[in-house]
């Protein structure tokens, strides 16, 4: 899939979550997402960036602008070298939390985007990729 543009943002502190939100918003606007779709992908990115910081101990967020035929998309990849997720199905279910959150982050983020994939290895880290198509 042709990648038009990409950018990598570190997530090391709380303020970085805000930077991720703003960058995702900017790109969603560039591919002319509707306001609702912009809000959805920004919210999903906010949830996942916070997970990255709290559970993954920080990491990197990679943004990519995609072009597939006539439609544009934004793909965001969240990668950490944290403890990994032992049971992905459980982590995706609503109401499950290993921390102090509400347990909506992972499953909720999945519902807000078009494509969602997660790879995780215990002791090695986690990589989550979301894509929102226009």
């Amino acid at each position: 899939m042709p990648v038009i543009n990409s950018e990598v943002l570190p997530v090391r502190r709380e303020g970085d979550i805000v930077s991720v939100r703003q960058a995702v918003r900017k790109w969603a606007v560039e591919i002319k997402c509707s306001l609702v779709d912009q809000t959805k992908v920004v919210t999903a990115a906010s949830e996942l960036a916070r997970n990255l910081l709290i559970y993954g101990g920080g990491g990197e967020v990679k943004l990519e602008k995609l072009q597939e035929g006539l439609r544009g998309g934004v793909r965001v990849t969240f990668e950490d070298q944290g403890p990994g997720i032992p049971d992905i199905q459980l982590a995706l279910s609503d109401g499950y939390t290993s921390g102090s959150g509400m347990g909506l982050g992972l499953g909720g983020a999945k519902r807000l985007v078009n494509d969602f994939s997660i790879e995780s290895e215990v002791g090695k880290g986690t990589r989550i990729t979301i894509t929102k198509w226009k």
Binding site: E14, G15, I17, V18, R21, Q22, R25, L35, V36, Q38, T39, K40, V42, T43, S46, E47, R50, D94, G101, M102, L104, G105, G107, G108, A109, R111, L112
Partner: protein, 117 residues
């Protein structure tokens, strides 16, 4: 200097307008400040205007719900006003329904709601 969201007092009502993209600590600071201010002032109502907020994720949603519960324990009612439609759609799909939080479409309607309560 620590950044803070200002709290205005109008009679028995505390008014907060969130106009920045809040990071988590700022949201928690607001929760603390509001709780202290209710206790100090004896305010009976809290009006939180989120019409400038372009996004409410589960963290901010939880802070709004917490503020409402804490205010309630301190004998004050909270109304969240002005949520943008796109934010409302996203919140519900995310799985957050803000149960127990009173809402109104705008500040005026929120004020009316508080006066009735």
């Amino acid at each position: 200097m620590q950044e803070r969201i200002p709290i205005l007092q109008m009679g028995m009502v505390l008014l907060v307008t969130i106009q920045v993209d809040m990071h988590d600590r700022l949201a928690l600071q607001l929760q603390d400040d509001l709780t202290n201010k209710i206790s100090e002032s004896g305010a009976k109502g809290v009006l939180i205007d989120i019409s400038s907020l372009e996004m409410v994720d589960s963290f901010i949603g939880r802070v709004l719900a917490n503020i409402s519960s804490m205010a309630s324990v301190l004998d004050a009612k909270t109304v969240v006003v002005g949520m943008q439609p796109a934010v409302a759609i996203t919140l519900v799909e995310l799985g957050l329904s803000l149960n127990g939080v009173m809402t109104a479409l705008n500040v005026m309607k929120g004020m009316k709601l508080l006066e009735r309560e």
